[in-house]
Subunit: 265 residues, 2 copies
């Protein structure tokens, strides 16, 4: 059974190109290493109807997990909790545990719980808050028809804190799958020359091989070759990746290429 995942990142700054979406790649990498297959990453604006409708679309594809990032803060344009509630046809309610966390973070410093601060404890009905150790706004999770939805703040270190806490303690189903990859660099072989050989090895072994061009195809051919596989037995997965790597290296040598610095030998 495939454990699929989707990532939804919310924030106008992603759509104007102001912010590079490093949250998406952090989350994708973390989920991949846990054995999830990330199928789609979507970035949308801070808009209520848009958030609600994309949440519905994603749930229609029934992933095992959806990680949502951004829009949990105190400002007028933070509307992820409300958007998720709307997408699920649930009410937005004051969550007592989240409220306790906010009280602790503001009131113990003598700061009043204004309307903007209280807003961060308004979660979709049935959601469980996830403590934010690196900032204020709590994350939250809820399971809908077998899909774990987890919402994290957009500030990177807060996203990481909430995501790790979720993955380590609250994940409903953990994939029984191990993912492994290795890469190496090749000089002097064009991507289009290596292509038919790689196609043959992929077809025969089922291992994923991708060439990432780094130089210029004809004038200065320089490629990174990535080999990735996943399976239940970590030792077996590593062994398969390494044996395929040796086969590709042998082909590169036959084609007159040279192996550059190996990144993860």
């Amino acid at each position: 059974m495939l454990y699929t995942a989707e990532i939804l990142t919310i924030g106008n700054e992603l759509l104007t190109g102001r912010t590079v979406n490093t949250n998406a790649s952090y989350i994708a990498s973390r989920l991949t290493l846990m054995g999830f297959s990330v199928r789609r990453i979507t970035a949308i604006r801070d808009e209520l109807e848009e958030i609600a409708s994309v949440i519905k679309e994603i749930l229609g594809r029934s992933p095992a997990i959806v990680v949502v990032s951004g829009g949990l803060g105190p400002t007028y344009d933070d509307m992820t909790a409300e958007g998720i509630a709307k997408g699920l046809d649930r009410k937005l309610v004051m969550n007592e545990d989240a409220l306790r966390e906010l009280r602790e973070k503001y009131q113990t410093r003598g700061l009043p719980l204004t309307q903007e601060r209280l807003k961060m404890a308004l979660l979709p009905e049935g959601a469980k808050p996830i403590r934010n150790e690196a900032g204020i706004a709590p994350g939250f999770t809820l399971n809908v028809n077998g899909t774990d939805i987890v919402a994290t703040p957009g500030v990177p270190r807060e996203m990481e804190s909430v995501l790790e806490s979720f993955l380590n303690h609250m994940l409903t189903r953990r994939p029984p799958v191990y993912y492994y990859e290795e890469s190496f660099l090749v000089r002097g072989v064009m991507e289009s020359t290596l292509a038919p050989h790689i196609k043959g090895i992929v077809k025969e072994t089922g291992v994923y091989i991708k060439t990432h061009p780094k130089g210029h195809e004809t004038s200065e051919p320089y490629l990174e070759v990535q080999i990735a596989y996943s399976g239940e037995n970590p030792d077996r997965v590593k062994e398969i990746v390494r044996s395929v790597k040796e086969r590709v290296k042998a082909v590169v040598r036959e084609l007159g290429g040279t192996l550059d610095r190996v990144q993860n030998p």
Copy 2:
């Protein structure tokens, strides 16, 4: 009339988190500065059916432009042209102009046009190739029911070359809109304290204001305040952004905050 845009980035490396999607932010920034409103950025795997189905979804939302990046190369997993053709119910055909470009790039160097190399000239029926000045695989464009689709390679400098060539010479409809933003940094005011004031100014002026937290809400409040607006008259747009900036700065001073280094005065 709103000129909406979508971006579709294709490549397994984006979904495993191996590659940070800097192409998406480059394209988003370029389109935003031209006056487009980027509504959605999607990243998916190199999978034929997935590409075809996402292309259909995007066209169903009728954006003015869709920029697709990645998957135009010579390898077995480069299948963007075929996926777009399938999504449009068009045939994939050998394009004579693209073939001429490949002949020039390979045969003039004494390199044969193998099957893998010829594949890069197979484009959806009716597509116009866009010369790739920075690499081999040509980009292409086609207009479907008023939506400009433009496909670029995934290697960043090749994407930039093809995209610029498209935007400067082949774009069907150019938005008559100018976008402008300024930012400044604030110390000593919590985001939740500034929030109600900003909400009021946004409501009154229609100007977009976003606070980006950079420090820690209660222990070391530090915010970047971004002010953005767009309209037909560049001078008027700048004037509005600057006057709103002064209003927000005045509020910050009243709240006891200090203005840090101004980024674009």
